[in-house]
Symmetry: C3
Subunit: 139 residues, 3 copies
C-alpha cells in the first residue's frame, strides 16, 4: 500500500448554494482556499443526481440518472490535481422518499442544501494514470 503523512493547513465548513452543482461547488471551495489536496465529508439534499458506476471489466464509467429530489445521506471525497486542474473525487449515498438508498461516484447533482467539512493538506495530491485499473489515482 502507498501512503503519506499529511499536514493540515486549514479546516473549513461551507454551505453549498441552492441550484449550483454539488461537485463544482466543492471544487470552487477548493479553488477559493487554494487547496491542491483536501479531504471532505458532507451531507444535505439534491434536486437530481448523476451517479457513475465503474465497470471493472470494460474499465469504463456508466452513468445512472436519478431525476428526482434526494437526500444526501453521506458524501465522502477528496480534492487532488488531475491534469493540473482541481478534481473533487466524490462518492455519495442518496435516498428517496421511501428511504431507499442509491449510491456511487457522484458526477453531478443540483444542490438543494449542502453542508461540507473540508481539511486542506499542505502538499498537493496529483492523480496519474494507473495501468491496472485504468483509473487516475494518487500516490
Amino acid at each position: 500500500m502507498n501512503y503519506r503523512a499529511v499536514e493540515t493547513t486549514d479546516e473549513y465548513v461551507a454551505r453549498l448554494e441552492t441550484g449550483a452543482d454539488w461537485r463544482a461547488e466543492i471544487e470552487a471551495l477548493a479553488a477559493e482556499v487554494e487547496a491542491e489536496a483536501a479531504w471532505f465529508t458532507a451531507l444535505g439534499a439534491v434536486q437530481d443526481a448523476e451517479l457513475w458506476f465503474y465497470d471493472q471489466d470494460a474499465c469504463e464509467y456508466y452513468p445512472i440518472d436519478l431525476a428526482e429530489p434526494l437526500e444526501v445521506a453521506s458524501c465522502v471525497g477528496n480534492v487532488s490535481l488531475l491534469d493540473d486542474d482541481r478534481f473533487a473525487h466524490t462518492h455519495a449515498v442518496l435516498s428517496d422518499p421511501d428511504g431507499i438508498a442509491y449510491a456511487g461516484h457522484l458526477n453531478e447533482a443540483t444542490v438543494w442544501a449542502g453542508e461540507v467539512y473540508m481539511r486542506v493538506f499542505e502538499e498537493p495530491l496529483e492523480r496519474a494514470y494507473d495501468e491496472t485499473t485504468e483509473l487516475d489515482l494518487w500516490l
Copy 2:
C-alpha cells in the same frame, strides 16, 4: 457559496449508550463538552429508527419508520445552535439483515451500539431560516 475557516478546539471519541436515543446522545456529548459547533462521523447499530425525507415542493419533512434492528453503516453530521439549543443535524445510512440500505435525515433511533468521532470548533454555528429552502441553515 458561503464558507468559514474553523479552528478545532478539541476532538473526542464516544460510545453511545445502549437503549438511549442516537441523536440525543450526540447532543448530550456536545452539551457535556460545551460544543456550539462541531462535526462528527459515526457507525454502529440501532434497534429501530425514524428517518425523515424533505419534500422539496411542499417544503416539509415526512417520516419513514423503520421498526427493526439495523446497522448504522454511515453517519455524518454537525452540531450547531438552533433557537439557542444544540442541534445535531444527523444523516445516516442504515442496513437490514439482507444488507439492503435505507438512508436519510435521522430524527431518532434507539442505540444498540454507537461509536462517534467529534471535532469541536471554536466559533458557534448558528442556524437561521432560509427562505429558498424553508430550512434552518448555518452561514
Copy 3:
C-alpha cells in the same frame, strides 16, 4: 455515554492495493504507522465483499456475500486493540451497476481501488466484552 478527549499524533492518506483485502490493508496501514487508535473515512471500489449483519436477538453476526464488483460509496471506521491485535472496525456502503446500495459491517472485500484518510490518536483504544450487546466495545 462514555467519551474521551483524544489527541491526534499524525494524519495519513493512503491508496489501497488492487487485489488486497480492504480491511487488512487498513490494518496494515495502522501497523505500519504504529497506530493503536485511529479514525478513518474512505471511498473506492471493490471486486466483491462480505458484509456482516449483527442479529441483536441471537447476538451473532451473519454474513451477506456480494460476489460482484461494487463501488465503495462510504466507509467509516476506527482502529483499536482487540485481544492485543489491531482491529479495523469498518462499516461500508457499497453500490451496484444500477446504483442500488448495500451496507453493513465490512468483514472482507477485494480492493479494486481505495482511498483512505486516517487520523492516529495518541492513547490506545482497547475493546472489551460488553455483556449487554455481547460485542467487544471500547471505552
